[in-house]
Amino acid sequence: MDRPLRLISANPVDRVARVVEGLLVVASQPLSVEDLAVAANDDPERIETALRLLGERYGEGRSGIVLEQVAGGWAFRASREAAEACARLFERPVERGLSAAAMETLAIVAYFGPCTRPDVARIRGVAADSVVAGLVERGLIAEAGRDAEAAGAIRYRTTPLFERVFGLESLAALPRLDDLGGEPDEIRARLEAVAEKRPA
C-alpha cells in the first residue's frame, strides 16, 4: 500500500466544528475564516462547512449562544432571549450616551476614513477634538497613522468594535453614499433659486 494508514474519525467535520467552537468561545474578537483555518490547521472549505453546521446549532430560539457573522468574521454572542438577563448583569459602556455629534462624527469616519480631525470639522462645521477623543476612548475609532499632506495630522478609522457594536458584517453593510441625502446638483439648484429671488 502506497498511502499511509490513517485513523479517520467517523465524521471529521464534527471534530473541526468542535475546534471552531473552542476557538470562538475564547476569542476576544470575531475570527475570519482565514484566522480559523490557520489556528485549526485545516483548510478554509472545511472551516466553512463547520461554520454552517454550527450556524444551525447556535441560532436564535435553539440556543442561548448565537453564532453571527460580524465585523469581517464570526463570533458568538448571547441570544436575544437572554438579553434581559444580560442587561441586568452587564454594562454597555461603548454605546451608552453617544451624542448626536458623536454619531455624525462616526458616520464621517466610517464613510470618509481614514480622515483627520480637520476633515471632520470641515464637514460638520464645528471643531471635532473632544468628540473624536471620546470615540477613541470608547474604542469605536482608532488612530491610523498621520496624513503626510495635511501637515502630519493624525488620521482616524473605525474599529472592528464599531462594526460589532452596530452589528455590521463589514463597512460595506452601511447604506451606499449615493442613497443618502441630496445630490450636490440638487442642493446647488436650490441655492441658485434662492439667489435669483434677490432684486437685481
Partner: protein, 253 residues
C-alpha cells in the same frame, strides 16, 4: 433702526454690535467663540418688535454678518483659505453645494446608525478576554523590531508643517487699524473724502473692514458722516477742531 447699536447678550459677549465688531477686529475677542446664529436671532427679534421691514438695516446687517461669518470660517479653517481663494465664484458655489450635500448625507448616515444601534440593544457579546485559563491566555508575543523605527517616528514628529501664507490673509484682511491710519492720513491732506471712491477695487470683505474703520472714526468724534439717500455715496468729513471743542464743552456742561 441702527444695526451697530443692536444690543447683544451672548455667552461670549454682552453689549452693542459695533463694540463686538471692534473687539473682533482688534483681536481682543475670539470670534470662534461667538455664536453668530445668536446675533442673527437678536436682529430678527428686534425687526419683529418694530413690526416693519427696514431694508436699509437688513442690508447693512447682511454685509456685516457675512463679513463676520467669513472671518470666523477663516479662523476655524485657516488652511481652507489657500484652497478656496483660488476658486472662481462659480467653482466656489459648486464646492459649497458639495459640502452641504456631504453634510446632509452624514446627517442621514448618523440617523441610520442611531436607528441601527437602537435595534441592536438586545445583542450582547463579550467585551474583553474570556475567563482566564489555559496557556493561551498569555499576552501576545511581539515580533522583533528595528530600533531605527523609533528614530524614524520622532523624525516624522519633527517635520515642520508647511507654513500657512499669513501674508496672503493679511493682504485680504487688513486690520481695522490699517484703514484707520489710511483714513486719518487722508484727512490730514483733505477735509472731506468720498467713502465709495476710497474703497473702490477692494473686496467686499475689505470694504466691510473699511466701513468699520469709518464707524470707529465717527464714534471717536474724528469725522462726521453724511449720506444724501440710501445707497448714495457716503461723505466723510473731518470734524473741525472747533466742532470737537464745542462738543467737549457741551458735554462737560
Amino acid at each position: 433702526m441702527i444695526v451697530r447699536e443692536l444690543e447683544l447678550d451672548l455667552d461670549a459677549f454682552e453689549g452693542p454690535f459695533d463694540l463686538l465688531l471692534t473687539l473682533v477686529l482688534r483681536d481682543e475677542l475670539e470670534l470662534a467663540e461667538v455664536d453668530v446664529a445668536e446675533i442673527v436671532l437678536a436682529f430678527c427679534d428686534r425687526l419683529e418688535e418694530r413690526g416693519r421691514l427696514d431694508l436699509d438695516a437688513c442690508g447693512e446687517f447682511l454685509v456685516l454678518v457675512a463679513a463676520l461669518l467669513e472671518l470666523k470660517a477663516r479662523g476655524l479653517f485657516p488652511e481652507e483659505e489657500l484652497e478656496l481663494s483660488e476658486l472662481e465664484p462659480e467653482e466656489a458655489a459648486e464646492e459649497l453645494a458639495r459640502r452641504l450635500a456631504d453634510y446632509r448625507r452624514m446627517k442621514e448616515a448618523a440617523a441610520w446608525l442611531s436607528e441601527r444601534l437602537a435595534g441592536e440593544s438586545e445583542r450582547f457579546f463579550r467585551l474583553g478576554p474570556a475567563p482566564s485559563y489555559g496557556s493561551w491566555n498569555q499576552p501576545p508575543k511581539i515580533a522583533p523590531q528595528s530600533p531605527e523605527r523609533l528614530g524614524a517616528a520622532l523624525r516624522l514628529l519633527a517635520t515642520e508643517p508647511p507654513s500657512l501664507s499669513l501674508g496672503h490673509m493679511a493682504l485680504r484682511f487688513p486690520p481695522v487699524s490699517q484703514f484707520l491710519e489710511r483714513f486719518r492720513a487722508l484727512l490730514r491732506r483733505r477735509r472731506r473724502f468720498d467713502f465709495e471712491s476710497e474703497v473702490e477695487g477692494l473686496s467686499r470683505v475689505e470694504a466691510a473692514v473699511a466701513f468699520l474703520a469709518m464707524l470707529e472714526l465717527r464714534k471717536a468724534g474724528e469725522v462726521s458722516l453724511e449720506q444724501a439717500a440710501s445707497f448714495a455715496s457716503i461723505r466723510v468729513t473731518r470734524a473741525s477742531v472747533e466742532g470737537r471743542e464745542q462738543e467737549w464743552i457741551a458735554r462737560s456742561a
